[in-house]
């Protein structure tokens, strides 16, 4: 039996998926092991968030909502770390809470070392309220008081006696908030936090959500936008740290090139057919 050999342009479009997996894996592994240190430019959306926090008076309170779960830690956690770093370093009061059950302990692991580094006192300069369900309903409730919905913080301390909540008793008393989110929670802060309580906001979102929230930057509803690992890396650059986001940027670059290469490879036979069709159409015309 004679085995029929596929023409090369057809074979290029029908490689086994595991070849794609292998090349994508290698495109990530090599830059992680041998960094290229590609230069990173800070975009205006990210700079706008940084500038807003930087220019707030020292007496103001900023909320960083850790609205993500382990599935989006790689993109969101570096953003949350850099934002908390910035708020604490610049001497503003920091309030943290989350709409996700998994993220209370993650926030705790972020805040503790930063507080030690910048000598911030718990309950006076920063607080981790932990998780509470409710999303938009919770936010409505926070508009009247933090302590009613959060009688205790993540550590189990009573919030009634905390200095932070006598100075900033409700959501309305915030000067700025950033929602580091992997889902639609940003919508609640736009529609309630900003529209009803007048608290300006920015968002740090996963790359998937970038197109959706561009429209809110254009209307001015979002002060700025941190998008995906690149947004996180840009913020790391602004605060002067080199975290996991910066480390991942080289791998991200090379992996994108590999995927684009595969997209072109998959289209070789399609483009060939289009060209052949046009040539034959021209011949018929002649």
């Amino acid at each position: 039996m004679v085995r029929k050999v596929k023409p090369i342009w057809e074979a290029l479009g029908k490689l086994d998926r595991r070849w794609v997996y292998l090349f994508v894996s290698l495109s990530i592994l090599f830059p992680l092991l041998f960094p290229l240190n590609l230069p990173l430019t800070v975009t205006k959306h990210v700079k706008a968030v940084y500038d807003r926090i930087e220019n707030l008076p020292d007496t103001s309170a900023v909320l960083i909502a850790f609205d993500f779960d382990p599935s989006s830690i790689p993109e969101c956690l570096p953003m949350a770390i850099s934002l908390c770093h910035h708020v604490m370093k610049s001497g503003k009061v920091l309030i943290v809470y989350t709409n996700f059950p998994e993220t209370g302990p993650i926030a705790e692991r972020v805040l503790e070392p930063l507080a030690a580094k910048f000598q911030r006192e718990y309950g006076k300069h920063y607080v981790n309220l932990g998780f509470k369900p409710g999303n938009d309903v919770l936010l409505m409730a926070l508009g009247s008081s933090w302590t009613t919905s959060f009688p205790k913080d993540f550590r189990g301390n009573s919030t009634q006696e905390m200095e932070i909540f006598s100075r900033f008793p409700s959501y309305r008393h915030l000067s700025f908030m950033v929602d580091v989110a992997h889902g639609a929670t940003v919508d609640f802060y736009i529609t309630i936090g900003l529209a009803q309580f007048g608290v300006p906001l920015a968002a740090g979102v996963t790359a998937v959500s970038i197109p959706q929230y561009e429209a809110f930057v254009q209307t001015g509803q979002l002060v700025g936008l941190l998008g995906g690992l690149k947004g996180a890396a840009e913020y790391e650059k602004l605060v002067g740290t080199k975290g996991k986001a910066t480390r991942g940027m080289d791998a991200q670059s090379v992996a994108h090139l590999v995927i684009i290469f595969f997209i072109f490879l998959g289209n070789v036979s399609v483009v060939r057919n289009i060209i052949l069709k046009n040539i034959s159409a021209m011949r018929i015309k002649k």
């Binding site: 490689l15 998926r17 794609v20 997996y21 994508v24 590609l38 230069p39 990173l40 430019t41 975009t43 779960d69 382990p70 599935s71 989006s72 830690i73 790689p74 059950p101 998994e102 302990p105 705790e108 509470k132 369900p133 409710g134 309903v137 919770l138 409505m140 409730a141 009247s144 009613t148 919905s149 790359a207 970038i210 197109p211 959706q212 561009e214 429209a215 930057v217 254009q218 998008g227 995906g228 690149k230 940027m249 080289d250 991200q252 670059s253 090379v254 994108h256 090139l257 590999v258 995927i259 684009i260 595969f262 997209i263 490879l265 998959g266 289209n267 399609v270 483009v271 289009i274």
Partner: protein, 205 residues
């Protein structure tokens, strides 16, 4: 009658919120704040209901010796272990409960989503075909955004980041805005239908 009572409760709950928003009557503000706290508690019980439902369905699989019942047994043991550790033993940051969350749940949840990177790569290679004008537009936008959103794009051509940002903040923004407006209209209409008792699917059978 029972269904009608539920619809009335739903309507009154919604009405309190709407009256408070439009008229800011102190009594309604108080009612609204109280109701928000209640809803937070109710939502928490709905999480518990979800958890109990998973527990019961796997318990049934074990009892009836369904195919792969031993996996369900592992699931039930893990669930009970976490509940016991979290509620009765040590919820604190250094306890076994948080250790299991950090070293078992956390890496697995991250990895499950990381698998999608392989599938999306394979889909890019197999399904992204420039067969007509619309598919070509999709292709061009995807490639330009991919290349413009990483540092190497800027090295290859300094205009790539600008083009990528332009796609996101002009044509893509326009389409996303239409989707947002459409979704908002849909949500507002559904909300109104629910409060008026026209939309009743939430009542179940």
């Amino acid at each position: 009658m029972l269904r009608f009572t539920a619809i009335i409760i739903c309507g009154i709950a919604g009405l309190i919120i709407l009256v408070e928003f439009f008229f800011r009557i102190p009594l309604f503000t108080k009612l609204q704040n109280g109701m928000m706290d209640w809803v937070i508690i109710l939502l928490s019980f709905s999480y518990l209901m979800g958890g109990i439902s998973i527990f019961l369905s796997h318990l049934q699989r074990i009892q009836r010796k369904y195919d792969g019942w031993y996996y369900s047994l592992v699931l039930v043991v893990c669930l009970l272990l976490m509940v016991t550790l979290g509620i009765f033993v040590d919820y604190g940051p250094n306890g076994a409960f948080q250790w299991l969350f950090k070293n078992v749940q956390n890496p697995m949840q991250s990895t499950m989503f990381a698998l999608l990177a392989f599938y999306v790569s394979s889909a890019s290679y197999r399904a992204f075909r420039v067969r007509n004008l619309h598919a070509t537009l999709l292709f061009v936008a995807a490639v330009l955004v991919m290349i413009g959103k990483v540092p190497i794009g800027e090295i290859l051509w300094s205009k790539f980041p600008e083009i990528s940002q332009w796609i996101l903040s002009v044509p893509s923004l326009a389409a996303q805005r239409a989707l947002t407006i459409g979704a908002a209209l849909g949500l507002i209409a559904t909300g109104l239908k629910t409060l008026l008792g026209i939309e009743r699917s939430w009542l179940g059978k």
